[in-house]
């Protein structure tokens, strides 16, 4: 096993990896940008190294500086987390060239699955259902139109090098086609320096169901079941859960088998995710491979009991997986809410600033994966995800109740977060019923989401008035006659305990 591992990330995922390293008694080396000097991942690691200025391009994305640093400090491996360089084939290759283990799939696999058209081709060859449509780049308008008519409207225009929704366009009729293709090609060209586009059948109101896989370098590939990720806003996942309410036992087995096949077909080693779309008839289609640990990996950890980061480290060190497919069994139901520094009352506007106070939930079935702390200044440079809240229980209904309870215990003060949004989702009929698809949040939930709720204004008013009253007394202690620590008609304030308002009954 490794002796020292560099964690090439920040925030909650860096802390997640550092915890796994500590449990394995592996020394952890953090890197940080100038904006992250006070961040938790710096304090929780055994070592910390300044890598550059706040902008990601000058710090967390600097391939050469990070690999050089790993060599210099004697780190045998690098864990990329998610985001930043996690799916960058060039970074994986730079690690390979430098003789540092990249904790993830090979650069070859990352490059293969990163090209949507190549990935499609690979899956078709492996007999995995893909969304009907072209498996070749389309250049002129006639070709595009012929292909669209062959598939049948509605269709989806996609960029071969795609990602993050860029270059993607849903098209419902022939008339829109030519203009959309021009726009998509130009967008793809400027975003990815690769203007190849292709057409797929548009799956309407799909559910997004993904399978966690993990593979070692000895040829063992195991899937750990699915995650339901249909609660999205503008293609961003907000809530994930396992199991999915949409899957039957036999469908789960079929999709799991397809996920393992997909991993084998792409020569996958380490942890990864095979994303599928599920249409209204419960037909599934390969969507893409996420060649990294996902944000939502703890959902799978809670239902399977398997520590994915630990297994990532083990297989990267050349060990065999500690379990076979038959050893994997699922218990209960897990839900994750992504807590973002965004204001749900104001169109999910980012909210940065100083965290003045935090109270985190705890107790049975609750797991918090947080990257922040009281006194932390949430920087503007990075992802708004500041924490993940997870709840597990024997049944989905109980997991929802537990998540509601945990959300009610979670206060992050000083910035706005998506906690109130998640409370509303947990209360919503559609989420509770389990009957929703990826269009739900944008089309059904938001039009009726009132956002700003102040259900107890009288109680808040009483608190504000009492604090004001106490401050007034403090400012004029002589006039009122009773400062802190003095006795007054049976009421006593011990000097070490500051009491506002002076009306606390204390022990005599």
């Amino acid at each position: 096993m490794f002796k020292k591992v560099l964690v090439a990330n920040r925030g909650e995922i860096a802390i997640r990896v550092i915890r796994a390293l500590r449990e394995l008694e592996i020394s952890s080396a953090a890197i940080y940008s100038e904006a992250d000097r006070s961040s938790r991942h710096v304090r929780q690691a055994d070592e910390a190294h300044l890598i550059g200025p706040p902008a990601p391009g000058e710090s967390y994305l600097k391939i050469d500086a990070i690999v050089d640093h790993a060599k210099k400090i004697g780190a045998e491996a690098i864990h990329p987390g998610y985001g930043f360089l996690a799916e960058n084939a060039g970074f994986a290759r730079a690690c390979e060239d430098a003789g540092v283990v990249f904790i993830g799939p090979s650069s070859r696999t990352i490059a293969l699955v990163g090209d949507k058209m190549e990935a499609r081709k690979t899956m078709v060859a492996a007999g995995i259902p893909v969304v009907p449509g072209g498996d070749r780049p389309l250049s002129d308008d006639d070709e595009i139109q012929a292909e669209a008519e062959r598939i049948g409207f509605p269709v989806m225009l996609k960029a071969a090098a795609g990602g993050g929704g860029k270059g993607m366009r849903a098209i419902f009729s022939k008339d829109e086609l030519a203009a959309a293709a021009r726009a998509a090609r130009s967008e793809a060209g400027s975003a990815f320096a690769d203007d190849r586009i292709y057409l797929e059948k548009l799956i309407e109101k799909p559910r997004h169901v993904e399978f966690q896989i993990i593979a070692d370098s000895h040829g063992n590939v195991v899937h750990l079941g699915e995650r339901e990720c249909s609660i999205q806003r503008r293609h961003q996942k907000l809530v994930e859960e396992s199991p999915s309410t949409a899957l039957t036992k036999s469908l789960r087995a079929k999709m799991g088998e397809a996920a393992v096949k997909a991993a084998k077909a792409s020569g996958y080693v380490n942890a990864g995710t095979i994303e599928f779309l599920l249409d209204a008839n419960r037909e599934f289609y390969f969507l893409e491979v996420n060649a990294r640990l996902q944000v939502e990996h703890p959902v799978t950890e809670l239902v399977t009991g398997i520590d994915l980061v630990r297994e990532q480290l083990r297989v990267a060190a050349g060990e065999e997986l500690s379990f076979r497919q038959l050893d994997v069994f699922h218990r209960g139901s897990a839900i994750e809410c992504r807590i973002c520094a965004e204001d749900p009352e104001n169109n999910f506007f980012p909210s940065t600033g100083l965290i003045e106070r935090m109270r985190e939930p705890a107790g049975p079935g609750v797991r918090v994966e947080s990257g922040i702390h009281a006194g932390f200044d949430v920087p503007i440079y990075y992802d708004p995800l500041v924490s993940k809240l997870l709840a597990w229980a024997p049944t989905r209904d109980q997991a929802i109740e537990r998540m509601r309870r945990a959300l009610s215990e979670y206060n992050i003060e000083g910035i706005k977060t998506t906690i109130p949004f998640h409370k509303a989702v947990m209360e919503s009929e559609a989420f509770r019923s389990g009957d929703f698809d990826t269009s739900y949040v944008d089309e059904v939930f938001f039009p009726t989401y009132t956002g700003r709720t102040l259900p107890l204004p009288e109680v808040a008013a009483v608190a504000a008035a009492l604090v004001r009253d106490a401050e007034r007394e403090e400012a004029q202690p002589l006039a009122v006659g009773a400062g802190a620590g003095t006795s007054r008609g049976g009421w006593r304030q011990p000097p070490e305990r500051r009491t506002w308002g002076g009306w606390q009954l204390h022990l005599k």
């Binding site: 520094a341 104001n346 506007f349 980012p350 909210s351 940065t352 600033g353 003045e356 106070r357 109270r359 503007i380 440079y381 990075y382 992802d383 708004p384 959300l407 009610s408 979670y410 206060n411 003060e413 000083g414 906690i419 109130p420 409370k423 709720t453 102040l454 259900p455 107890l456 204004p457 009288e458 109680v459 808040a460 008013a461 009483v462 608190a463 504000a464 008035a465 009492l466 604090v467 004001r468 009253d469 106490a470 007034r472 007054r488 008609g489 049976g490 009421w491 305990r497 500051r498 009491t499 506002w500 308002g501 002076g502 009306w503 606390q504 009954l505």
Partner: protein, 167 residues
Amino acid sequence: MKYQVEIADRKIELEVEKSDEGAKVTLGDETQPVDLVRIGRSPVYSLLLGDKSFEVSVHRKDRIYQIVLDGSTYDARVMDERALRLAAAGGGDEEVRGEVLRAPMPGIVVGIAVEVGGTVEPGEGVVTLEAMKMENELKSAGGGVVKEIKVEVGQGVTQGEDLVVIE
């Protein structure tokens, strides 16, 4: 002591009385015992109102008491008897004229959709700010005529910085 507390668009009148037996608060027709205790030196308080128990955090921002209660944030403006008398004697609030669009967070200005002298409708996008990997469109609340544009595209701004003045 009587207080008037403004929260959002509500004005809540209440009266706090203290005696040797503790404090009472009167809200509308109802008088209840009340007890507020600060937890250590933190911004957290335990509030007992009648039998009910609440945990509140109080952060003071200038003249506003920001109360966090059950996950919601209430911005409370507290006026005591004296302040209320003064306000009554001095006439109503000054008429607020015009609007200054301010940066709700630090970021980089990546777009300005208006020109000085142009007209802005309520809810119209005015400035686009980039922060946390996302572009965010800032909208005019009231609408009016653009009097001054204080920033330019590409400029970094801090939270609360004036961007555009609309009258």
